[in-house]
Every structure is written in structure tokens, then in C-alpha cells.
């Protein structure tokens, strides 16, 4: 029997499975208050999925408000859309705008690595598309347990193949990301995907259903029973607490369908027949209808029978909750419906009118001629519960910070330093990522100016003027564990610097905040600190947070992952032909280290690789210095003074030098600056530093600029073609040996 609104009003005491659907008793009571009766099953499905942690941000909202309170102006102008929209939109000049956002697909990728990662890419691409933008690139930030753990062997190849399989098939270049190994992610891999898109200012489409009489069209894939309850159940509960109502909760992606959906949608935009649009993410129709209706001024009526199904046995509440991929919803004026359908037919995309915008102020849904949903849409989509979860600095935090790395044995002779270097460059977090990134197409679309292994991805946006963008995605869970406030700022600083070394001007920020259970006050404190750190950092840098994503409950039993705030920074470069690449190429170029080096090893890769140690304080952040450094790089790029630049971060100057010489297989002679301990010089992870290669004729001009701005700069070596990296007075090591150590690790780990 159909549970109609009429029926619900008559049977107030009918027991309902609200707890199994993830609602708390107080939340269920609130639904009853809002409706003035018990919800129907369909309404219950909608509220439960939309009020889940994943969709409602109920634990994180109070903290995330900080981002919106900041200035929404970037160094290149006002945001065209900010927090609250599907994705933030940044004006980059020439009438063009860029939108970018990252999203997590952690738990699905653990359950079914290939499909979990693939549908993660698919979801974020639709988000960008729904802003009115043509997607032009993707990135992926990945974290796994130890490299040699069985589960990593199972999960990583599937995740990488899934990210590649979906993105490659869509024809979106993959321009960067991260791969990190740490025991804290064992059984809890993190798969964060980012998409960036481009539009003309006038094409900005915001998700809303307005205009009484306008038609609501569902287009794309048919709706099936896959992924039902995925949103509320997959993402918002820990692995252990799997309740009884779990359906097969994995979705399978169809990137070909998505490619058609993209081309079709872009043609619809160009034809100017879209009044409002919404992608289908988690929570499917529940989400799309209630969000569209809630953001518009009127109401909406939907005839659920008109939703094309892949499985005719689905119940109405299942149709509302299904997470079938590759679907979109558009609001279209009646006169345009025919043209809409024609364009869909051209691309072989199914489209059906499923509803209409009205002035009722309510979202009503009918099934077999009866009303099964009648709700105020805001209460579903925007006015969900908000929790002020208790948080407190963990009682172990002091002990962790007191366990300084100062007492760890350090290499003292040249031979020791050489052995340490070789061990580090081959270690899981510092070795070459080529085994992963060679599975991604970085060339498609023909606008990729820089991609992996460069510090940031750079895309040409406007062929005529050379206007382009740069993007980097970074995080360091070890730093964040030691101090979540500073650790988050370090992620911001690194992403900012990675963008700056290409010569681009960093302008805006997105994030994906991966944490454990918000019900644990320790975790909630980490989260609050991370948000505070990011907000303060962005304020200082003048780069607003434009949007982001939160993934909570990343934990197995009582153990949470390291707090892992992944930060994405977008930069603008006026002329991509001025970009600075990262590798040394030309013998005779002079190598400079910009920025000051201190004895900073808390959370460092050296402490991790050599001693398995995590303790002390992470490196200090200095946003003033980061800004000054970015300015220098930007000016130097404009004047063509620098031939190569590479960020110094994990593994220190040693790692940066190794990557710089291996890029084009040249050699280098390097000396330890006076007054610096060779070990500290090589392996400290002090921030606000880069190494650059300067052609001899530009040297005076370049150092003059650094001096004028009071920025520390030290001549530390010269590029040569001797085939060795020589650290004078300490050791030297052949490029071939370095290359082997750097490149063997991942292929060996995943050899068949």
C-alpha cells in the first residue's frame, strides 16, 4: 500500500524505521513538528538522507561559517559566486571565470576501489558542470595505509585505475594531485577529487527553480536501485555500525554517459534554454528537487511515475533516494522544452519532464495519482539540524608535542648523509609518482602547459591572450596531527607556494576536510582548529575560501585517521608562455635557495622514514614570507629571469634538488651555505623556501630584486652536465643511481 500524506495524517502512531535510516530521536521529532503529522515513508527517506552528516553538514556547519565571514574578494576581483553554491566562481579577467571544487569519495573507494574512485570523479565533474562551466581538468589527492600492507595492494591499483578510467574517458586532463602512505589510513583510504571548469561571466547558472509554470526536466541515465542509502549510510556512519537496511550501496559509473551529458548540457547552455540546473550527487532526487525548490522562490510539483527507471520494482522512496550516477535536473520555460528535447536527442540523452514549478511554496510529489510528499522544501534542503558538538584539546596533545625529534640520531658524515638521501628519495612518500600518474591522460584538450610531476598544474584558458590558471592540492596529515591549526596552515602555505613557483598569482582556495568522528571531542577539536587555521591563513594571504567539502567518520573503531585538511589553491597567470617549469635543464645556470632554513624536523619525512617518529611541533608558518616569495616569483616570471623553480617541502632541499636534476637528467654541484649544518640544510622542512635556477646574465638583476625586497637568497650551486649530484665536501651520487632509487619503489610494490 502506498503511504500517502493522507494516510500518514490518519495513522500518527504507525512505527517508522527512523533510527535505521540514521535519524536521531530528536531529529525525527523535529520532522513531525515541521509537518504537523508523521512523515510518509517517502518524506522520511528524504529527510533522513538530506539531514545526514554528508548532506547537511550538521556537525561542521557552525565552524564552516568562518569562511563565509571573510572578505570574498580575491587579488583579481570579487567572487562571482561564493560559499553556498555548488562551487565558488572566480573572475579571472577577459570576461572569463573559473570554478573549482574538491570532493571526497573515501568510503565507497574502500568498498569498491575502482567504482568508488570513478564515481567520485564523476560527481565532482557534474558539480562543476552545474555551475554553467565547461570542465577542463581534474586532480586527485589520494591517501592509503602503508605501501606494503595487503589492503593497500588491494585498494590502490583499483582507485588509480578508477580515477584514470573515468577522467580519461571524459577527456579531462589530470593535472596533479597527491599520493601519501601512512598507517593512519589503513582501512580508511582517502580519495579526494577536484574538478576545475571555465565559463564566460554571463553563463553562470545558479541552482534554483524559479518562474511559475516552468518545467522540471530530469535528463541523463535512468534511475536504478544502486547506491540507495549511500549518502546517509555509506558516508555518515562508521564501518562497524552497519545497520540492517543496507542495500547494495555501491554505484557503478558510466563515463561515456557522463561525456554525453557534458556535451549535451554545454549545448543547452549555449542555446540559452536553461533557467535553473542542479546536478545529482549524493541523495539523488531528494536532493535535486528540494534544493532547486528551496533556492527558488516558489514551490514545485513532481510526478514520480515519470522518472524513467532501470528497475521497475523500485518503491517510490527508493526512487527518491537512489544515487544512480550521470543524471541532471534542469528547469526550463515551457516554450523551450521542445528545443531542450531535441538537443538531448542529438546526444542520445534521455530526458523527461517530471515536474513543474508552482507558487505553492511547497514541494509536492505524487505517485500513482496520490500525494506522497508535501513539505516545505527549505526544511529538507537548507534548514537541517545544526549541532554544536563538544570539542576539547585532546589530553594526549601535549605529550605528542613534547616528543620532540631533537633527540633522534642524525647522520653526521658525508657517507651517512648520502645513505640517508638515497633512502629518503626511494621512500613511499618521496619516491616518483609516475606509476600512478602515467595512468592519467594529461594531454587531452591540448591546453595543459604544466602537469605532474610539476609543482602545480597549469592550463591555458584563452588561446588568444595566453591567459591561464594554476592549481595545486596539498595536505600533510602528520603536521596536522601535531598541531591541526598550524598543520592546516602548512597545507595552505604549500599549495599557495606550489602555485607561486609556476609564476602564477595565487587567488582563491577550496578544501576537502577529512576527519574522524565528530562525536569524538578530540576529533571535533581538530576540526575546529583546522577551520580556524585555514580561515586565518586565507585572511592573511588575501585568498578567500570559495567552497569545499567535509568528510567525517573516517575511522576504524576508536582510531581516527590523522586530521587531513586537503587544501586546493587556484592561481591566475596572465600569459602561460611565461610559466616557470620545475626542472634544471641548462648547465651553467646558478642555483639559489630562497628563504631561511631553520632546524625544523617535527613531523618531517626524515623523522618518519628513518626513525618512524611522529612528535614535536611542525615547522613554523610565515604567511608574510610566503606572500613576499610569491611576489618575487611572479615578477621574475614576468621578466623571464628564472629558468626553473621548485618548491621545497617534504624531504627538504635534498628532495627538491633530486627532483630538479632528475627532471631532465642533468647534474648539479651544490655547496652547504656557511653557518648551516649540512644535515639541517639538506633535510629540514622549513617553509617559504624554493630553489630556483637563474641564467648567469640575469643573476645580478635577480639578486638585486631579492635584496630590494629583503628576501633571504643564497647561492647554493650550479647546474652542470657531469651526471652527478655533488654536495661539496660531503658526498656525491650519480644521477643514474638516484633515478633508480627514486623510480623503482612503486613499480616494485605493484609488480605482478
Amino acid at each position: 500500500m502506498i503511504d500517502t500524506t493522507e494516510n500518514a495524517a490518519k495513522t500518527p502512531d504507525h512505527p517508522q524505521p527512523w533510527a535505521e535510516l540514521g535519524l536521531r530521536a530528536n531529529e525525527y521529532e523535529r520532522v513531525r513538528d515541521i509537518l504537523g503529522r508523521r512523515p510518509t515513508n517517502a518524506e522520511l527517506a528524504m529527510y533522513s538522507v538530506m539531514w545526514s552528516e554528508h548532506c547537511s553538514y550538521k556537525s561542521s556547519k557552525v565552524h564552516l561559517r568562518r569562511f563565509g565571514e571573510q572578505s570574498q574578494v580575491t587579488p583579481v576581483g570579487k567572487l562571482l559566486a561564493g560559499i553556498g553554491e555548488n562551487a565558488g566562481v572566480v573572475d579571472i579577467g577577459n570576461g572569463l571565470a573559473v570554478t573549482f571544487k574538491a570532493e571526497s569519495h573515501n568510503h565507497p573507494s574502500y568498498v569498491e576501489p575502482y567504482q568508488g574512485a570513478a564515481t567520485g570523479v564523476g560527481g565532482i565533474v557534474r558539480d562543476i558542470l552545474a555551475m554553467g562551466a565547461r570542465p577542463v581538468g581534474v586532480m586527485d589527492s589520494l591517501r592509503f595505509g602503508p605501501l606494503d600492507a595487503d589492503d593497500t595492494q588491494r585498494v590502490l591499483p583499483g582507485v588509480v585505475a578508477g580515477v584514470g578510467g573515468y577522467g580519461n574517458c571524459l577527456g579531462l586532463p589530470n593535472i596533479g594531485g597527491e599520493v601519501v602512505f601512512d598507517p593512519s589510513y589503513a582501512g580508511n583510504p582517502l580519495v579526494n577529487a577536484l574538478c576545475v571548469g571555465v565559463m564566460r561571466h554571463e553563463d553562470l547558472h545558479l541552482a534554483k527553480a524559479s518562474g511559475v509554470g516552468n518545467q522540471v526536466i530530469l535528463y541523463g541515465a535512468r534511475t536504478g536501485g544502486d547506491g540507495i542509502g549511500g549518502a546517509s549510510i555509506l558516508a555518515s556512519e562508521t564501518f562497524e555500525s552497519e545497520g540492517p537496511v543496507k542495500r547494495p550501496s555501491v554505484q557503478v559509473g558510466d563515463p561515456f554517459m557522463e561525456k554525453l551529458l557534458i556535451e549535451c548540457t554545454l549545448e543547452l547552455f549555449a542555446a540559452e534554454i536553461i533557467a535553473g540546473i542542479q546536478d545529482f550527487g549524493a541523495a539523488g532526487l531528494s536532493c535535486a528537487t528540494s534544493e532547486l525548490a528551496s533556492a527558488g522562490e516558489g514551490g514545485m510539483h513532481v510526478v514520480l511515475d515519470r522518472v524513467p527507471l532501470r528497475d521497475s520494482t523500485l518503491a517510490p522512496e527508493e526512487i527518491l533516494m537512489s544515487e544512480s550516477q550521470e543524471r541532471m535536473m534542469a528547469v526550463v520555460e515551457p516554450a523551450d522544452v521542445e528545443r531542450f528535447m531535441k538537443i538531448c536527442a542529438k546526444w542520445d540523452v534521455q530526458a523527461d519532464v517530471v515536474g513543474e514549478v508552482n507558487a505553492s511554496g511547497r514541494l509536492t510529489i505524487e505517485w500513482r495519482g496520490e500525494t506522497i510528499v508535501d513539505v516545505p522544501p527549505r526544511t529538507v534542503a537548507h534548514d537541517g539540524p545544526v549541532y554544536e558538538r563538544p570539542f576539547a584539546r585532546p589530553d594526549w596533545q601535549d605529550a605528542l608535542q613534547a616528543a620532540s625529534p631533537a633527540h633522534l640520531a642524525r647522520p653526521s658524515t658525508g657517507d651517512d648523509l648520502r645513505a640517508t638521501l638515497l633512502r629518503m628519495v626511494g621512500s613511499p612518500n618521496l619516491c616518483s609518482r609516475a606509476w600512478v600518474t602515467d595512468q592519467y591522460d594529461r594531454y587531452v584538450l591540448g591546453n595543459t602547459v604544466l602537469a605532474q610531476p610539476e609543482d602545480a598544474g597549469v592550463l591555458r584558458i584563452d588561446e588568444a591572450s595566453g591567459l591561464g590558471i594554476a592549481l595545486s592540492l596539498d595536505a600533510n596529515g602528520r603536521y596536522a596531527k601535531l598541531d591541526p591549526y598550524t598543520g592546516t596552515q602548512l597545507a595552505l602555505a604549500e599549495a599557495y607556494r606550489n602555485v607561486a613557483v609556476t609564476g602564477a598569482r595565487p587567488v582563491a582556495v577550496t578544501n576537502c576536510l577529512n576527519f574522524g568522528s565528530p562525536e569524538d571531542p578530540d576529533v571535533m577539536w581538530q576540526f575546529a582548529e583546522a577551520v580556524r587555521g585555514l580561515a586565518d591563513g586565507c585572511q592573511e594571504l588575501g585568498t578567500p575560501v570559495t567552497g569545499g567539502n567535509v568528510s567525517l567518520y573516517n575511522q576504524t573503531a576508536e582510531t581516527a585517521i590523522h586530521p587531513t585538511p586537503v587544501v586546493g589553491v587556484l592561481g591566475v597567470i596572465d600569459d602561460v608562455s611565461r610559466r616557470i617549469p620545475s626542472g634544471f635543464r641548462t648547465p651553467g645556470h646558478i642555483i639559489y635557495l630562497l628563504g631561511g632554513t631553520r632546524d625544523e624536523f617535527g613531523g618531517s619525512e626524515w623523522a618518519n622514514v628513518v626513525h618512524g617518529h611522529l612528535g614535536g611541533l611542525p615547522p613554523a608558518v610565515d604567511f608574510g614570507a610566503e606572500k613576499a616569495l610569491a611576489d618575487i616569483l611572479h615578477s621574475a616570471a614576468g621578466d623571464g629571469m628564472i629558468a626553473a623553480a621548485h618548491d621545497v617541502s617534504d624531504g627538504g632541499v635534498a628532495q627538491a634538488l633530486v627532483e630538479s636534476v632528475l627532471r631532465h637528467g642533468v647534474g648539479a654541484r651544490v655547496w652547504v651555505p656557511g653557518g648551516l649544518d649540512p644535515f639541517v640544510f639538506l633535510f629540514s622542512e622549513s617553509t617559504a623556501r624554493v630553489i630556483v635556477a637563474v641564467p648567469h646574465p640575469d643573476e645580478v638583476r635577480f639578486t638585486g630584486m631579492c635584496a630590494a625586497r629583503g628576501y633571504p637568497h643564497e647561492r647554493i650551486g650550479v647546474v652542470d652536465d657531469e651526471g652527478v649530484l655533488d654536495v661539496q665536501g660531503q658526498f656525491s651520487v650519480g644521477i643514474d643511481e638516484l633515478r633508480r632509487a627514486h623510480e623503482e619503489t612503486l613499480p616494485a610494490a605493484f609488480a605482478e
Binding site: V111, E112, Q115, A221, G224, G225, D226, P248, V250, Q251, V252, G253, D254, F256, M257, R310, D311, S324, Q325, D348
Partner: protein, 81 residues
């Protein structure tokens, strides 16, 4: 020498984009009367020895862990004469 065949198909409720594409192509090429197509994998496993119950049990275990992912796929196994 015996042969074990393992067929792995996506569960019925899971989207099968490949089957869908093949179905579409059959329609366009004018092959009529097809109501659905599902595409799966077929493994032909040759054993060095006989298909003893132990050997088959081993392959069965491999089928459920390595050859298929029970979250999205079903498998069936048979010994060929």
C-alpha cells in the same frame, strides 16, 4: 587435465554500461527483438590435475575473492568435461 569455467556477471541491480552500449548498437544495426543485454567476464581455468572436490573448492574461493567483487558481482562456476 580439467577445465573450470567461471562466469562473473554484474548483479542485476547494478548498472551495466557495457551491456547498455551493446544493446544500443544492436538496435541501431537493426537487430530486433532484443530486450536486454548484460556483459560479463568468462574465465577458463585449466587445471594441471583432476578436478577433485578440493581443487574445485579452491577455485571457488578464488572466484569469490579474486575473480569477482561480491559487492557488485555474482559468479557461477562449472567443471567442463
Amino acid at each position: 587435465m580439467a577445465r573450470v569455467v567461471v562466469d562473473v556477471m554484474l548483479k542485476p541491480e547494478i548498472l551495466d554500461p557495457q551491456g547498455k552500449a551493446v544493446h544500443g548498437a544492436l538496435d541501431r544495426l537493426g537487430f530486433e527483438g532484443v530486450s536486454s543485454v548484460r556483459q560479463g567476464k568468462r574465465f577458463e581455468i585449466e587445471l594441471a590435475g583432476m578436478a577433485t572436490p578440493e581443487a574445485v573448492a579452491e577455485i571457488e574461493k578464488a572466484a569469490s575473492t579474486l575473480l569477482s567483487n561480491p559487492v557488485i558481482e555474482d559468479f557461477s562456476l562449472r567443471v567442463e568435461p
